[in-house]
Amino acid sequence: MTEETPEAPRDGNAPSRRALLGWGGAGLALGAAAAGVGVAAARSGDGAPAADSGAAVPFHGAHQAGIATAVQDRLHFAAFDVTTKDRAELVALLKEWTRAAERMTAGHAVGDGAYGGLAEAPPDDTGEALGLKPSRLTLTVGFGPSLFAKDRFGLEDRRPAALVDLPKFPGDNLDRSRSGGDLCVQACADDPQVAVHAIRNLARIGMGRTAIRWSQLGFGKTSSTTPDAQTPRNMLGFKDGTRNISGTDTAALGKHVWAGKGDGPDWMTGGSYLVARRIRMHIETWDRTSLQEQEDVFGRDKGEGAPVGKSKERDEPFLKAMLPTAHVRLAHPDSNDGATILRRGYSFTDGTDGLGRLDAGLFFLAYQRDTRKAFVPLQRRLAAHDALNEYIQHVGSAHFAVPPGVRDKDDWWGRALFS
C-alpha cells in the first residue's frame, strides 16, 4: 500500500504537499458541511465522487465531525467511566484527547510517534495505523448524564434538560455493563484498523483517569447522510432509514440535529444529543420468516426498498397503505409530529452466543436537537407497536450530550462546559 501511495503520512511527519492537495481537498469536500468550514468543495478532475476513502476530514469546526459527515464504513464506539475524582485531571485529559484526536484524524501518530524514541520507554503511539491513510477518521465526544451527578465534578447545574435519563421502554432488556457511561468517543473511519487504533490510543492516554466501560465495533453502515448514495442494508437484509437527514442540508440539520442558542445551556449551542442503542436481532427466526411477512414488517419491498405500493426506494411512502404496525409507518416523521433524527448506525456481529446463534444486530446511533422531542416519543411508539419487535431486542442503551466542535488548536473538547 505504501508503495502505491507514497504520500501516506502516518509516519509522524507532516503530509507532503501532494497529500494535502489530494486528500485534504477531497476531505474538505466531504467535511465542509459537517464541520461547518466554509471551504469550497474540491472534486477530482475525472468526475469521480469526492468520497475518497483515504482522505482526512477536518477536525476543527463549529460542529464536531462524525455527525453530518458522510457516513464512513466502520465504527469503534467506546463508553468510558471517569475514574478520577479530580476535575482538573478530567480537564487535562480532555485537552490531551483533543490534541491526540487532531493528530490521528489528520493521519498522524500520537505524541512522539510509534518508533524512534527512547529505547527504554514504550512508544507514545501503539503503531498499528502506521502506513495507513487518514481514512476519513472522525472522533466525536459526548458527555453522559452520570458526569453531571452531584458531588462529582461540580457540573450538576450545567446538565442540559434535554439530557434526560432515558425511560424504560417496553421490551428493553438492558445489560448494565453495556449501557451508560460518563463519556463516549465515536470513532468512524473507512478502515477498521484506523478506528480501532484511535479508540485504543485514547483509552491508553486515559488510563488512571478513565476506564473503558464498554465498546462496540460496527462493520457496516446502515444509514447514509448522502442522499444520492444507495441506502445500505441492515442485517435483516432491508434498506432502512432511507429518509435520513442529508449531511449537506443545513436547514434540516439546524432544525433537527444541532442544539440552537436558547435550546439549553450555552455550552451546548452547536452540539447535539446522541442516543446509542445496542439492538440485538433474532437473526435465525427472521431468516425463517416468509418474504411477505418480512416486507409487511418493514413496509418496504426487499429488492428495491420501495415503500408499499411504490416502485422506487425514494418514492414518497403512502403510509396508510402499510400495516399499522409496519416499521416505516411508525418511524416516519408524519406519524410522530415531525420528529426527525439523524441516523448513523452500524451493523455489528460479535461472533456467536453460547447457543450457536449469531450475536448480531444494529448498533443504533441517532443524533438530534432534543432527545425528549425526537428519540423518546419515536421509540415509545416503536416499542409499543412495531411488528419488528418480534425479531429484535434492545440490550444496551446510552445517552450523551455531544458538545459543539473544537474551533482551533487552542480549543478543546468540553471547554465551554468546564469554563
Binding site: T83, L118, E120, A121
Partner: protein, 378 residues
Amino acid sequence: MRAVRLSVVTAAATAAALTAVTGCAEKSDGKGDGAVQVVAKDDSCEVSKTKLPAGHIELAVQNKGSKVTEVYVLFPDDRIVAERENIGPGTKATITAEIKAGSYEIACKPGMKGHGIRQKIEVSGGKAAKRSPEMDKAVAAYRTYVQAQADETLPKVKVFTDAVAAGDVEAAKKAYADSRIGWERTEPVAESFGDIDPKVDVRADGLEDAQKWTGWHRLEKALWQDKKLGAEEKALAPALYKDLTDWQKRVGTADITPTSMANGAKELLDEVATGKVTGEEERYSHTDLVDFKANVEGAEQSYDLLKPIASKNDSALTATLDKRFAELNKLLDKYRKHTSSYEFTSYDKVGKADRKELSDAVNALAEPLSKLAAAVTK
C-alpha cells in the same frame, strides 16, 4: 577502515581474525555498525567476534536455519544477560545489552530447546556501564531487599512443605499463600534464573511437552481440587524446598541495574494484569489477591528506591506514580480485614464489577510505571 568493517559484516566466518580493529572502527562509523553478527543455523551458531570491549553491545542475529531459534547471551553460570526468543527462519533480530568485562557465552537454540549451540566470548577493558553513586545505592538497597525476601520466605516454605510431606491437607492449605509472598514480591529477579521458575511456579497450562509438573501450583491443585495428598505429592514437597533453597543461594548474585529494577516493577504489574486480575494464577486456591498484593509491594519497593533519581528527571511522573500506588493499595485494602493482614478475600468471591475496578486500577498504575525506566536512565 571502511573496507575492513564491511568485511566484518559480510564475511562473518573470517571475522575472528579482525577483532583487533573493533573499538575505534565502530565508534567512527556510527549507528549499528558495531554489531556482532550472529548467524544461526540448525547446526551452527557463527559469531563474527569473540573478543569485545565492555559496554554496550549489539548482536545482529540472522536465522539462516529452518527452525525457529532463540539466542542468548549468558553468564558462565547460565544466568541470562540478554535473550531473544521466537526468531523465525529467514528473519533477523537485534539483541542489545550492557556487558562488563568477563567471560560469556552466546547460545543459539534451534527449535527453541535444549542446551543450545554455544560460542564463548571474552569481554575486556573498555568502559563498564556508567553508574552514579545514587544508582549504586538504589541497586544495593534493592539487592538487600531481594535477599531478605528469600531469607524470610524459606522458613515459610518449610512450614508448607512439612505439612505437605506429613499429608496434613488443612495445615498445608493454611501455609500455602504465605509461602509465596516473598517469591511474588521479587518474581522478575527469580525468573532471571531461567531454571528455577519452571520447577516451582509453573501452572498446568504452562507445561511443555514431557515436562513434569512440580512446585506450588501442582500442590495447590492437590490441596484444593483433589483434596488429598498422595505419595507423589508428598515427594514433591522436599523438591520444592530444595529448589527454593537454590533460589535463596543464587538470588544475591543476580545482575541488577536501575533499568532492570524499573522494568521489573512494570513486569510485576504485568503479572497482576495477566494472571491475578483474571484469577488464573491461583485457580484452585483463589488466593490471587495475596499474590496481587505481593506483586504490588515488590513493584513499589523498586519504585521507592528509584524515586530519588526519577523525580529529578520527571517529577510529574513520580507524582502520578505516588498517587496511583496509593490508590491501588487503598483499593486492595478493601479486601482484607486490616492493613497488616495477608488474609485476603477469596478471589472467587470477587464479582465481575469489582474485578473490573481492580483491573482499571492496575492499568492506571502500570501505564505510567512503564515510563519509569526512561525517567531513570534519562
